[in-house]
Assembly symmetry: C2
Amino acid sequence: MNLDAYFRIGETVTLGTHLFEAEAIKSFARKYDPQLFHLDEEAAERSVLGGLCASGWHTAAVWMKYNLLQLSQASGSVWQGAGQAPEFGPSPGFTDMKWLRPVHVGQMVTYTRTALGHRAMASRPGWRILTMAGAGTLASGDPAITFNSAVLVKVVSSE
Amino acid sequence: MNLDAYFRIGETVTLGTHLFEAEAIKSFARKYDPQLFHLDEEAAERSVLGGLCASGWHTAAVWMKYNLLQLSQASGSVWQGAGQAPEFGPSPGFTDMKWLRPVHVGQMVTYTRTALGHRAMASRPGWRILTMAGAGTLASGDPAITFNSAVLVKVVSSE
């Protein structure tokens, strides 16, 4: 199993484009981020954000959805560790989550992933840690969200 | 309106304790993080995580839920900007999200917020930026999640 077959260092992969619709924005906000500019069109228009927009925690979680979807499409059932596909472990976290612009209702966000590198883990033989940059960009070309992330990947030796 | 009435610098406020139940773990994962160790008990037991556990994006979003709930209880309808309660704007993001330990099904996480400071924003007169440390701790006392965050707060002058 060659990690570089899945993650070419420095190459930006488009994961997918997501339309943020009112009901999904409100549904996420009711559960996790019940502020009026995520819940109510009229109140949102009067707010500093000028209109209904998605919670930043929502726009971040949707990146993960498209990240996994792309990996699945690229390699079958990646997260089942089937065949020679990489097996993912947990993520130690990420740094520098920047919510650069609000994502308003009806806007499309195109998500990307750029592999930055991977290295062996001294503490877990057989696993590597993969670092990557994630982003979500509006149709205007302006970035809405950027961050740097990491995930553990098990190195399955080829037979 | 005195920000320090809501946010005492350096004081750690307990926001609430959340029980991570199987159906909620799976429901979040189906939408945003469909990896087997978040979706299926048996597959999770065979995985590197050793059992069903919540997505890190889920444990992060639940912090925000309890953060807003505590602010609401502390000051009425804080996010409606009513009365002398602070009006919150967007967050520019956060740094150093660390998922330190998995949150397994049936575990309780106690969320906290520690205000670190606030300062005027040169770019937005009348607004301050509040920085804070967020955390979620297991019943054992071990931290599961920590991060540093920030949010814009409108300074409403007292009459």
